[in-house]
């Protein structure tokens, strides 16, 4: 058992150092314009990903329950999902600067996880209400949606920074809209300009929210089904429930504003940031706001 805890610690260290290295490499990429730095950064993120998997597997193995029941375990799951989505986007689209937004967020989460007091960190046996197969399903769906929203937030911030820089450079030139112009029919491929980067970050924010939104819906719904089996009611306006609904509503507002009124540019990015604040309250803030079913203060 102690050996297993030690191995878990090694994996958490791997996660920590991998992501820290990624942060440094990605910022080297920005400052020094080094191409290799970006690859090294992605490699650091991949190492961190392996570390997060290893740590979760070890905990599942020695604790004997899905590692999703306390704050440390949920942070581990969130980082795992965040790195997974990041690596997928990196592999498919090879965007510039995206790693520089994703890595610091992952690093902050690991830093937060490592300073938690033991009572929120160590494995504890599951209380009766949590002994259900819905634990795996509900919590992992929520964490995947949070991860998508975290990355959407990062992309929105990069968008706003690039946008501000563009504005400064071009003195109010065109916003967004990197286009595939007619290239005389001879050259293949695409030239990446700053405005295509801008269009990319606008697009990726949108798509990440489009990913997180149904997953959040499914997460809330599986939570409702679980609550109906455990407490006899699928919705009880518990603060955490309510905040997850608020988050869902904010993103619903974002999607409506965007798809039907063609809200792009900064307004859309700012909406994404408001959504992220709501995610933070749902994930962490609620526990300080009020006593509810999700704090498991009472018997169940």
């Amino acid at each position: 058992m102690n050996n297993l805890v030690a191995i878990e610690t090694i994996f958490v260290d791997l996660l920590f150092w991998g992501v820290l290295a990624a942060v440094i490499f990605f910022w080297t990429e920005i400052i020094g314009k080094q191409k290799w730095a970006r690859l090294a950064g992605a490699a650091g993120m991949a190492l961190g990903f392996v570390g997060s998997i290893g740590a979760m597997v070890m905990r599942y193995y020695y604790a004997g329950y899905p590692p999703l029941s306390n704050l440390f375990e949920s942070l581990l799951g969130l980082i795992f999902a965040l790195l997974g989505i990041y690596l997928f986007i990196e592999w498919r689209m090879k965007p510039k600067y995206f790693g520089a937004a994703a890595a610091p967020m992952a690093f902050l989460l690991i830093g937060f996880a490592s300073i938690l007091p033991a009572r929120l960190k160590d494995a504890h046996p599951l209380m009766p209400a949590l002994q259900s197969y819905w634990l795996k399903i509900h919590v992992s769906l929520m964490l995947i949606s949070y991860a998508a929203f975290f990355l959407a937030f990062g992309a929105a911030v990069v968008y706003l920074i690039l946008h501000a820089r563009n504005k400064r450079d071009e003195q109010g030139g065109g916003t967004g809209g990197g286009t595939l112009a007619l290239e005389g029919g001879s050259t293949f491929g695409q030239t990446r300009t700053q405005s295509t980067a801008l269009a990319f970050f606008d697009e990726i924010t949108y798509r990440l929210i489009l990913l997180g939104f149904p997953v959040l819906a499914l997460g809330i719904i599986t939570g409702g089904i679980w609550a109906n089996a455990a407490w006899g009611t699928y919705w009880s306006w518990d603060p955490k429930e309510t905040w997850s609904l608020i988050t869902w509503l904010v993103y619903a507002g974002y999607l409506h504003a965007r798809t039907t009124r063609d809200w792009r540019d900064q307004r859309s990015a700012i909406f994404a940031i408001v959504g992220f604040v709501s995610v933070l309250v749902t994930y962490l803030g609620v526990n300080y706001l009020a006593q509810g079913l999700h704090t498991y203060g009472s018997l169940l």
């Binding site: 209380m127 002994q131 595939l180 695409q190 697009e203 719904i221 039907t260």
Partner: protein, 447 residues
């Protein structure tokens, strides 16, 4: 044609021809997405209030550290019961009205347009309207069509050499399906409220209660609830499993169900495993110490004890009892503590009894057998559940469809035999651009 860039605030069939301008503007206002967003954000704000102010009875607000004026305002607007306050429910009603209007007057017409095959477009309009354009090498039309089909486009070819293709129409159903799902949840929720009941029953071991009695004390009962059950539920056994002496692993109750025409049946329930019988569901919900089992002299009896909160003994229970000629106060802090006995004539503690211990009080032999635990059942009937769940999954299906991008492309043949390829995607424009490039390279390399 680009549905994404047209002004879409106008409902498609809000024709003012006969009904007059007021009807058209009524529809335009109530079906508008702007109103929808405003209502969504207002509902979110109301919900936030409910997570900041203690919900339930007004005492939560009264006991919080606030000025009296603030408390009065909060109570006046029903902030202690936000989700059932008149204004929150009205907000929901208005929202669903807006949702119905926009589904009928915006979503459906738009869907009808989107499902039509794209119309051919002149080359000049392509250049004017589509930012994403590529010139394709000279290529046979058949081959072009084959490549588009291989990329899973639906292709329409016109005699003049124009080709129109589209893909991902499923995404256009997203809004409609999501909205239908939300209505289904609403209907299910109303069914839950009107046709269901929710009650609680603390049962001691050996106790048997007719289900009708449980329904009678329901704290929530719909006006259309079935309400008549001619059978009973009893508690045969209640126990806990421990990880260690301080940590409960699970709570179990064995329930006996007696229905006319059926042999009695026993079912085990525990947290996360309710029992459902004839539309009534029993949940293991709470538990407590409700009294002490004593034997006094020759007879053994269960002494019902009350919550001792009024003696400032929180969480514990107590009872005044007469034993022989004396009066005694029994006090039990929790289910693992010894029973404390206080003589009410002298106000002196006279005995502290562990489980199974005896003492003599007013000449009678009194034995504390064990604390009497009750198992708290949550009992409810909820015919809305299947409807709500159907709505849940409809919503998920709808919002998942939104991830698909609807892509439309146009190809015009130029005089030199080349094609101009251009198009629009309602989302995923970056990936769409990659796809156009891929199509071109597929044509280029195989030419």
């Amino acid at each position: 044609m680009s549905t994404a860039t047209q002004s879409q605030e106008k409902p498609a069939n809000g024709s003012p021809a006969s009904g007059g301008a007021s009807w058209a503007s009524f529809i335009r206002f109530w079906s508008s997405v702007k109103l929808g967003i405003t209502l969504i954000l207002a509902i979110a704000m109301g919900s936030i209030l409910g997570t900041l102010v203690p919900q339930g009875d007004p005492s939560g607000v009264m006991n919080s550290p606030m000025s009296d004026q603030a408390k009065q305002i909060l109570l006046a607007i029903g902030a202690h019961n936000v989700y059932y306050s008149w204004w929150f429910l009205s907000l929901l009603a208005v929202f669903f009205f807006n949702l119905a209007m926009s589904t009928w007057f915006v979503c459906l017409p738009r869907l009808r347009v989107a499902l039509k095959p794209p119309r051919p477009m002149a080359e000049s309009s392509q250049e004017r309207m589509h930012p994403d354009r590529l010139a394709l090498p000279t290529v046979e039309q058949d081959k072009l069509i084959a490549v588009l089909r291989a990329n899973r486009f639906r292709v329409f070819a016109f005699p003049n050499g124009q080709i129109v293709a589209d893909k991902g129409r499923a995404s256009k159903f997203s809004a409609l399906i999501t909205h239908i799902g939300l209505f289904t949840i609403l209907i299910g929720g109303l069914a839950s409220g009107l046709m269901g009941f929710k009650s609680q029953a603390p049962l001691f071991v050996g106790q048997e209660v007719p289900v009708n009695e449980i329904v009678k004390v329901a704290h929530q009962q719909g006006s259309l609830a079935a309400g008549h059950y001619n059978w009973s539920v009893g508690l045969e056994k209640f126990w806990m499993d421990y990880y260690n002496p301080d940590t409960v692993r699970q709570f179990y109750s064995n329930l006996t169900i007696k229905r006319p025409g059926h042999p009695p049946e026993t079912h085990q329930i525990y947290v996360n495993k309710p029992l459902r019988i004839d539309g009534v569901t029993f949940y293991q919900s709470f538990w407590g110490v409700g009294g002490a089992k004593l034997s006094i002299g020759e007879s053994s009896r269960m002494v019902d004890m009350e919550n001792a909160e009024r003696f400032k003994l929180q969480g514990s229970i107590s009872r005044r009892v007469d034993i022989g000629t004396g009066q005694y106060f029994l006090y039990l802090p929790d289910q693992r503590s010894p029973l404390q006995v206080i003589d009410l004539n002298t106000f002196q503690p006279v005995a502290v009894l562990d489980k199974g211990q005896s003492t003599t009080l007013s000449g009678e032999k009194v034995t504390f057998s064990e604390p009497a635990l009750y198992s708290g059942l949550q009992v409810k009937a909820d015919p809305g559940i299947p409807i709500v769940y159907a709505g849940f999954f409809t919503v998920v299906l709808g919002v998942a469809l939104a991830f698909i991008s609807h892509r439309q492309i146009w190809l015009s043949r130029r005089e030199n035999g080349e094609y101009l390829l251009s198009g629009v995607a309602n989302r995923g424009r970056f990936t769409f651009q990659q796809e156009l490039l891929k199509i071109r390279s597929q044509l280029g390399t195989t030419a």
